[in-house]
Symmetry: C2
Subunit: 574 residues, 2 copies
Amino acid sequence: MKYLTAASRLLRHSSRNLSDHRSNLQFFCSIRPSSSGLSYTSLRSYEHLIQDDCFHRKITLKNICFRGSGVGILHCLPKFQSDGIRTHHRNLASTALIPERNKSFATINSDDISYFKKVLGGRGVVQDEEKLDDANTDWMRKYKGSSKLMLQPRKTQEVSQILDYCNSRCLAVVPQGGNTGLVGGSIPVYDEVIINIGSMNNVLSFDKVSGILVCEAGCILENLMSFLDNEGYIMPLDLGAKGSCQIGGNVSTNAGGLRLLRYGSLHGSVLGLEVVLANGTVLDMLGTLRKDNTGYDLKHLFIGSEGSLGIVTKVSILTPPMLSSVNLAFLACEDYLSCQKILVEAKTKLGEILSAFEFLDINAMDLVLKHLDGLRDPLPSSKHNFYVLIETTGSMESHDKEKLEAFLVQAIESGLLTDGVVAQDINQASSFWRIREGVPEALLKEGATYKYDLSLPPEKMYNLVEEMRQRLGTAANVVAYGHLGDGNLHLNISTQQYDDNILAKIEPFVYEWTSKQRGSISAEHGIGLMKASKLHYSNSAETVQVMAAIKKVLDPNGILNPYKVLPTPALSQT
Amino acid sequence: MKYLTAASRLLRHSSRNLSDHRSNLQFFCSIRPSSSGLSYTSLRSYEHLIQDDCFHRKITLKNICFRGSGVGILHCLPKFQSDGIRTHHRNLASTALIPERNKSFATINSDDISYFKKVLGGRGVVQDEEKLDDANTDWMRKYKGSSKLMLQPRKTQEVSQILDYCNSRCLAVVPQGGNTGLVGGSIPVYDEVIINIGSMNNVLSFDKVSGILVCEAGCILENLMSFLDNEGYIMPLDLGAKGSCQIGGNVSTNAGGLRLLRYGSLHGSVLGLEVVLANGTVLDMLGTLRKDNTGYDLKHLFIGSEGSLGIVTKVSILTPPMLSSVNLAFLACEDYLSCQKILVEAKTKLGEILSAFEFLDINAMDLVLKHLDGLRDPLPSSKHNFYVLIETTGSMESHDKEKLEAFLVQAIESGLLTDGVVAQDINQASSFWRIREGVPEALLKEGATYKYDLSLPPEKMYNLVEEMRQRLGTAANVVAYGHLGDGNLHLNISTQQYDDNILAKIEPFVYEWTSKQRGSISAEHGIGLMKASKLHYSNSAETVQVMAAIKKVLDPNGILNPYKVLPTPALSQT
């Protein structure tokens, strides 16, 4: 009886679809700012509270707790507090063990400045303190370097000249795009020269037949989206940081995001790259071909290596055609096994139109409903242990609705779903996404949070959550949500106050558990400075050794983004 | 009026779809044996003529024209001839310039044999002449090596021990899977030890929730397809050689095939690899995660490097769910621009269900109708300059048919299509595919053929065909077909007899033209021995130099698949 009621509600509510949902990109952006739910979104909530509606405007803070002349870890949040949000020592679950400054690196002198001015002109050589302060500080405001120089090349040849010079002088550099990374990968650790690619921001070509876009690395993701919007195509990736992040940075960090389930990773979408090596050599691998089996496909080395092997200067990428119909369902399951079964069913029954499969557990839902104003439970008749969001994207509205309805009715009748609702307009869809996206903000309002971004085999994913609950007992609230369709769990442990004893119960347990299941300790955000010393949890010693050997070949002096990605001991062994 | 008639025919013919088409994989295999149309299919046609219905049974031949003790180039086809097929000196358009044997390599002695017997037991050490003859000869019967030893390990550890030993003795090796490659990559050039992976053929795990398959490298592609068939999934790649080729070889050659348009390349699908390096080190990168950003993604180095950097021993791969509905349309366009426009329309209007977009020109069509028995023109009312095959695959039959029909009616009404028909049953679909797939066989029956497998930007692809026609005049018939949706052109130049003067007009022009357009001289078949000296046409000198440097790091003695992929001079410069 309950099932039938739910099924009938599904049918009733699905009378309209959300075809306007994605077509209005600006709006969509504002309702789906972040998929990862790391503190990125939490910080944004601060910005909202102080009525800063510009997505990426940085708030100038007095930074605290710098150490020596090297990178500082900011132990406190911004001073502003309002609306009951308490500040905590956040994001210390994975504070980096910062290596000593490499003594073989030179320091900038006036001859260097003169040379760079000769190459770039005055406008491309930034020594202004305020600008440097921004560029030295990461987006999370967790790390801060002490670089005295930022260079802003406009052409590949300039990047080449800069690197050639830096390499010969043994000046360390840090490549920087939108500086929106979450692992301290895009800021200097000490006094590295910042090479900011943002001035290289031209679209070079777009082939409307093949959908292949070629552009410079400094193009902002959202600008590329707008460009493609006019051509009837979309970018194969979409991130919360789209308003600031640059395609070169996306490639260098192998950014994941919201469209990965449907369009796969950048290793599949990126067709070609132009990269400048540490010694200034320009590697022209800027192919625009879907098929090219001529030798080693070197571009993949630069996808996800966080600028430590070369600086990406141009990108060729395959873009999918824009489809007009979007639907969204908010569903309830009583156990995690049902969530998995629903995923399998959705992959078969919705097949080609499935575009997102997200989940959150009851703990996450409770927090959202407790802390986020204006949100109500879409399934208020009773509480459920798990909630699933399923999005479809297709080319014909009536077909997609029919498929989704048939799938949902069957899932309810078979008992996999206990309740559910299909968004009937864009406002309802926004509120559904706001629940999923609002978990980090709710966690922030609740107290301190230990955050982990893990990839695990879906069938084992929730075992970690349950083991963690057993381990921590009543001392903490263990909250789980994430991209179930991609096997990406965002594990959050919420406590009233930051506590070393709690941390000791969580780490290294969480990494060891993940490692034992052959999971990834960084599903989508990379290694950067934050996790370089933890690389072994997801890679064998032999693999790390080969990584270090390749780094040595491509960057023998180690000037490119030092102290990041690879653990310092591995590098010194090569 | 003509348009309306055609449109009405489309609607009439599309009253049934081909949902049985793909569900019967065996049948589908027999009607779509090869997508590339290289002589691979031609050779198969010989097998059919002598009533050899086993897809991959090798015909034992007396080989001709070996040179010295090294690899021989077989200048003649098999002796059997029937049914009017004339033999020609084929496939000499790209004969390899074979380097001298590397003098630093040792030769096998009795101590080596004893060691290998100790590691593998007697069964794994093959010295039998007949078996070696097969393993020394490539599938095209174009190259033949002179190895005296084939090893058949059953475990990764055995591969490791073999390589460790060979590396210390400086014994060169050639990794071999199904030996179905088309560029002489999987056979020894001189006396290299053959390491055949075929005995490592177990499925290790399959996760029905995520669709992730983990298996040993020697699993035959078709066996994996059958395994997945029972699970409701499919392999993301499908090739003519599926009955013999092995997944390790597919990965090592970055095999393309029929499903690339829909499911992308193996760089997107392969999630993890286990690889043994030249010195016996086992690199365990066998992740089963869609998202993993922990360090350099080294597995991509081994995808498509043709066993020259390491031997793939295990593969983890993401498999798509099986969809039940397949439709096929055979269409006519009057000009190449319309073919391109139709592709753009299909990508938008058919969007998520488009699974193949193939084309052939009137010269190809004429040849097929002239030479292939039992085939008739599906659009007999008049001749057309271009023909396009569009296949859709989706999860709901009625939806797919409706989308396809709407798309076709609109395309005819807008004048992009001049005629067309939708297959109404599996026999009609088979005959449509037979036209596309039959071009190589028809070319073989016509005379000598110079064959090129190129990737080019779709808008420029046919310019090469037209320029080649102008260049050759009446001396040759220039025939074009291929995977237009992937930008992959199969350019064939048909003449009565093989002629050095014709070849001199074609090469290096075709490579230079392709290079000038930033195309690929090997879209899907790799470099192997055949094109190692031509690598520069699709790669800059700097890129080749980095490839050689990486080869040097991973295989300092150069024992892995020597003389292949990289030009010998590049290697000697490192």
